[in-house]
């Protein structure tokens, strides 16, 4: 039955793990937004378990796409058919929602990016390089410090009449500046609105530097939930900003679309999905430093119930290519032994 077939899109980031189930007619069946909390493997398994409980038993996953900074891990655990970087995934999702979109502002937990599209194709992009000031984690931290739930951050900022000037170049200095403004007696909404403006200025001066920002503009990623930031973007850019309906899971949605694209191109291919029951098995991750050469790569190995699923982290391919040739992890054991000696 058609309505029991889904594409699974997974986006495992530093802060959140998002999953979507997409129907073949491009409508969304389920969307999950979970906190990764530094345990990506358990979070992925938890997510699959949750999804499984929400769909009928007869359901079938016909394609899987993985993205996010832990896309390789997610792909290994799930048996994904498509593994793509988050820039492409976000761009694909946005241009499916609105083919005319020309700019995507994306602010996530620990990174922020800008993507410029022309005629539905990415023409330019940038990611924050050496600084994470003004990403979701910082907002989280500040909200906690001020004792307000993160959900109220934006609405409170919107109440401001005269936002204060906050130094936004560096999140540490932004914090001390905010404390100073509090001590001077400025109201909370004014400080929050000032912080939103500082963050937006910082974003546009760093990530958005030299980028040709044209409308329609999409604002996505977890931070898009904050109307204060959205308003600050609108004021700074002088254009209206669209927050798409599924702004929080656009990466996962893009991954699902990419899985769908792949199936459309090769209709005969079967998914490599490892099944909805994978939440019940045991996964283990091991890491060791290879002593084969001076690069000293950190190798990660994923093991499912004693069987090595994948290894990565090596530059030369010695470990990643060796998977499948041996089922035990004696090589890895040998390496660890050497290191410990």
């Amino acid at each position: 039955m058609e309505e029991d077939k889904f594409f699974l899109g997974v986006d495992v980031g530093s802060v959140s793990t998002n999953m979507v189930l997409l129907r073949p007619d491009n409508t969304l069946k389920e969307a999950l937004y979970l906190r990764t909390q530094g345990r990506p493997m358990q979070t992925i398994q938890e997510g699959i378990k949750l999804l499984r409980s929400r769909i009928p038993n007869s359901s079938e996953i016909i394609g899987v796409g993985a993205t996010g900074s832990a896309r390789q891990l997610a792909a290994t655990l799930l048996g994904a058919d498509v593994v793509k970087n988050e820039i492409t995934a976000h761009a694909v999702a946005a241009s499916r929602v609105n083919p005319k979109v020309q700019t995507i502002l994306e602010i996530g937990g620990q990174d922020s990016k800008i993507i410029i599209l022309r005629d539905g194709v990415v023409s330019d992009f940038a990611m924050n390089t050496v600084c994470a000031a003004g990403t979701g984690s910082f907002l989280d931290q500040q909200a906690a410090r001020l004792g307000i739930p993160i959900e109220e951050f934006g609405p409170l900022a919107l109440q401001s009449k005269t936002p204060v000037q906050i130094a936004g170049r560096c999140s540490v200095f932004a914090e001390s500046d905010m404390i100073h403004k509090q001590q001077l007696g400025h109201s909370l909404p004014d400080i929050l609105a000032g912080l939103c403006q500082a963050m937006v200025r910082n974003y546009l001066n760093n990530v958005g530097k030299n980028k040709d920002i044209q409308g329609p503009i999409f604002f996505q990623g977890g931070v898009a939930a904050n109307p204060g930031i959205r308003k600050a973007f609108e004021e700074e850019l002088g254009q209206s900003i669209v927050v798409p309906e599924h702004y929080g899971v656009m990466g996962a949605l893009g991954a699902a679309f990419l899985a769908q694209e792949r199936l459309a191109k090769r209709p005969e291919s079967l998914t490599g999905f490892r099944g909805l029951k994978l939440s019940e098995t045991q996964f283990q991750a091991k890491s060791f430093e290879c002593s084969g050469c001076a690069n000293r790569c950190e190798i990660v190995e994923i093991i499912q119930e004693g069987i090595s699923l994948a290894r990565w982290g090596d530059r030369c391919g010695k470990w990643s290519l060796a998977v499948g040739t041996s089922n035990d992890n004696s090589l890895a054991g040998q390496q660890r032994g050497q290191r410990g000696a």
Binding site: S69, N85, T88, V121, F125, R315
Partner: protein, 383 residues
């Protein structure tokens, strides 16, 4: 006297050859690694650029192998590297390392002064004829090295097994490092070409021989583009994503221009770049800022699909170049991405950006479904 020197990609092969042919004892520091960087970072000012940190790490690692004299090139102009010889001397002394530092540059413009420094390093046994001969041989080796590297650039996206291609590169370098004759250099290049030719025969008929690789030009600060450790192996990574890479500066091109003052061209001479840059950056800004801009224009005119600029955090000449590149991107409609590296740079972040950049270049043609043949390695690289 035991001479050591900082690493910069493959340069050690050439420098080792030079000193060995003059019978000067030389210590090649262990290649750049996490350990090198950690050791160097501990002694460096935080805002110094990545090359200083790696240099210092190299010296400390070399000191434990008995090195007591450092050779480094100098330079004038706004790039800080010209002064690193002096800075490193001071830092090492403060840290308790007793190193003699010889900066190979004409002090106050005096060629005699430079000659004296070379004489100091070469000792009294070597005649000037012998020194010049050794310099010539080392130079020829650097050209050979560059040819092999560029053959690998062309081979990575075209040959079937990435692991075997890297092994071929390593063995080519190894053979080149060992040889002490011009014939040996020539034979090594031929051997690499022959091996590539054999492997390519097997690919030609298969389906995956069909796609013509996209071409990306790498420009930027010389140390970070020549040294794969500091750029997180950008070239290898791109090669394995199916991209043919070319680079603005090769070792011998830089040696020819910087050390031999333009007397020899080197592989891919860098002399023409300021001419290409003229319209966008008409004057010298230090380092290779102007070369970066010029090379970007040249790559764009040659029909490359994209350009990647790499430089260490806080590199002034390249920051100037970076602010000019968007104009070239606009004029030639060629995507340009900038990567900034320092000791905090992570492999994952670089990989994500490279993948996204390749997607950006690939998706338009993929959606249109253009098929072209892949071409022969030897017709492309190492000419």
């Amino acid at each position: 006297m035991k001479v050591t020197f900082p690493h910069m990609g493959n340069a050690w092969i050439v420098i080792q050859t030079l000193f060995e042919s003059l019978n000067v004892e030389v210590v090649v520091p262990p290649v750049n690694s996490k350990r090198t960087l950690n050791l160097g970072t501990r002694l460096s000012p935080e805002s110094a650029c990545l090359p200083l940190k790696l240099n210092l790490g190299n010296y400390i690692e070399a000191a434990s192998q008995g090195a007591d004299t450092i050779v480094i090139t100098g330079g004038i102009g706004p790039c800080r590297f010209g002064y690193y010889g002096e800075v490193e001397r001071e830092i090492l002394r403060d840290a308790g390392y007793d190193y003699e530092v010889v900066t190979l540059e004409p002090p106050n413009g005096s060629l005699l002064g430079l000659a004296k420094r070379i004489r100091f390093l070469a000792g009294t046994k070597n005649s000037w004829t012998k020194i010049l001969k050794a310099l010539r041989f080392a130079y020829l080796k650097s050209v050979g090295l560059d040819r092999i590297e560029d053959l690998i650039h062309a081979a990575r996206p075209r040959l079937p097994s990435p692991l075997d291609t890297e092994k071929l590169y390593e063995e080519g370098k190894e053979r080149l490092a060992q040889t002490m004759s011009e014939k040996g250099i020539f034979d090594t290049i031929q051997w690499v070409q022959e091996t590539i030719r054999e492997r390519q025969v097997n690919v030609r008929s298969s389906v995956d021989g069909k796609y013509k690789p996209l071409r990306i030009g790498i420009v930027g600060e010389i140390y970070t583009i020549l040294d794969p450790y500091s750029s997180m192996g950008v070239e290898q990574e791109l090669g394995q994503l199916g991209i043919e890479v070319d680079r603005s500066i090769y070792l011998s091109g830089w040696v020819g221009n910087h050390v031999f003052q333009g007397l020899v061209p080197g592989y891919r001479s860098i002399k023409s770049y300021p001419g290409y840059a003229k319209h966008y950056l008409p004057h010298f800004v230090g380092g290779h800022g102007q070369e970066t801009v010029g090379a970007a224009v040249k790559f764009a005119r040659e029909g490359f699909d994209g350009i990647i600029q790499i430089f260490p955090l806080s590199c002034m000449p390249e920051i100037v170049a970076a602010s000019v590149l968007p104009k070239i991107q606009e004029a030639y409609k060629i995507p340009i991405m900038t990567l900034i590296v320092d000791e905090h740079t992570g492999q994952a972040g670089i990989k994500t950006r490279l993948e996204a950049f390749v997607d950006l270049l690939e998706r338009p043609t993929m959606l249109r479904g253009i098929e072209q043949t892949r071409g022969e390695v030897l017709g492309v690289g190492g000419r």
